[in-house]
């Protein structure tokens, strides 16, 4: 699974992206966030407020119950501020 981080999630985690193989209990966006929070202080800080984290699976917006699987591109980012 390819993970991508943008804006302050990228700077807090300290990575723009990474390849991961989450454990089997990671089935959807919500459980992916729970697993990531346990991976270190940077992750915990970046993902502390789920209300400020948006997710996209394979480049489409995804809600917390959206499934994730091996081979997916999952992006995590704050609310967008373009325009």
């Amino acid at each position: 699974m390819r993970l991508l981080y943008f804006a302050w999630l990228r700077t807090r985690i300290g990575l723009a992206g990474e390849e991961v193989t989450p454990p089997p209990e990671v089935r959807d966006v919500a459980s992916l966030l729970v697993w990531l929070r346990g991976r270190g202080a940077g992750y915990a800080a970046a993902l502390a407020e789920p209300a400020l984290v948006r997710a996209a699976v394979n480049q489409d917006y995804a809600r917390p119950d959206h499934p994730v699987a091996a081979g997916d591109e999952v992006a995590l980012f704050p609310p967008v501020t373009g325009g």
Partner: protein, 151 residues
């Protein structure tokens, strides 16, 4: 219908001329240009850094253009959004719509910029003498975009 994400500036006159000349039935071209403000509150801005999600950005903007094309009689539309480092007064974004008559061009242009602001994956970081900070999303922008789904 076209979408461009680029670091370089755009030529507003040339873009509007091209859009308006694309179809002999066009009677109206409406454009919105977003500019980098000189002040953050009362503090002078030094620079604005724009980050985006390559791939998803284009996909979202194309989906918004397609939705605009379903809702209004458009002969063409164009979204150009800049990324990278911009300075005070620089152009950030151009949204332009062309239609046989003005009402559809106005409505589609406003829809596109309102929807872009809350759904296209761009993020702004402002730099002032006090340091740099990521811009926070505004509730007013959410409300403006939500109003279009209610119509």
């Amino acid at each position: 219908m076209s979408v461009r994400v680029q670091t370089e500036d755009f030529d507003l006159g040339a873009e509007l001329e091209r859009l308006g000349g694309a179809d002999p039935g066009i009677g109206a071209v409406v454009s919105f240009v977003g500019l980098v403000r000189h002040l953050v509150g009362e503090t002078p801005l030094r620079a604005l850094e724009l980050e985006h999600y390559p791939g998803m950005t284009e996909r979202r903007l194309e989906a918004l253009e397609a939705e605009a094309g379903r809702r209004w009689a458009l002969s063409g539309c164009l979204v150009v959004h800049r990324v990278g480092r911009l300075g005070p007064g620089d152009r950030i974004v151009l949204v332009a719509t062309a239609s046989p008559h003005r009402a559809d061009a106005f409505a589609a242009c406003q829809f596109l910029i309102d929807a872009l602001k809350t759904s296209a994956p761009f993020w702004k970081r402002e730099e002032t003498a006090a340091g740099a900070r990521w811009v926070e999303a505004r509730a007013e922008d959410e409300a403006a975009a939500a109003a279009w789904t209610a119509r």
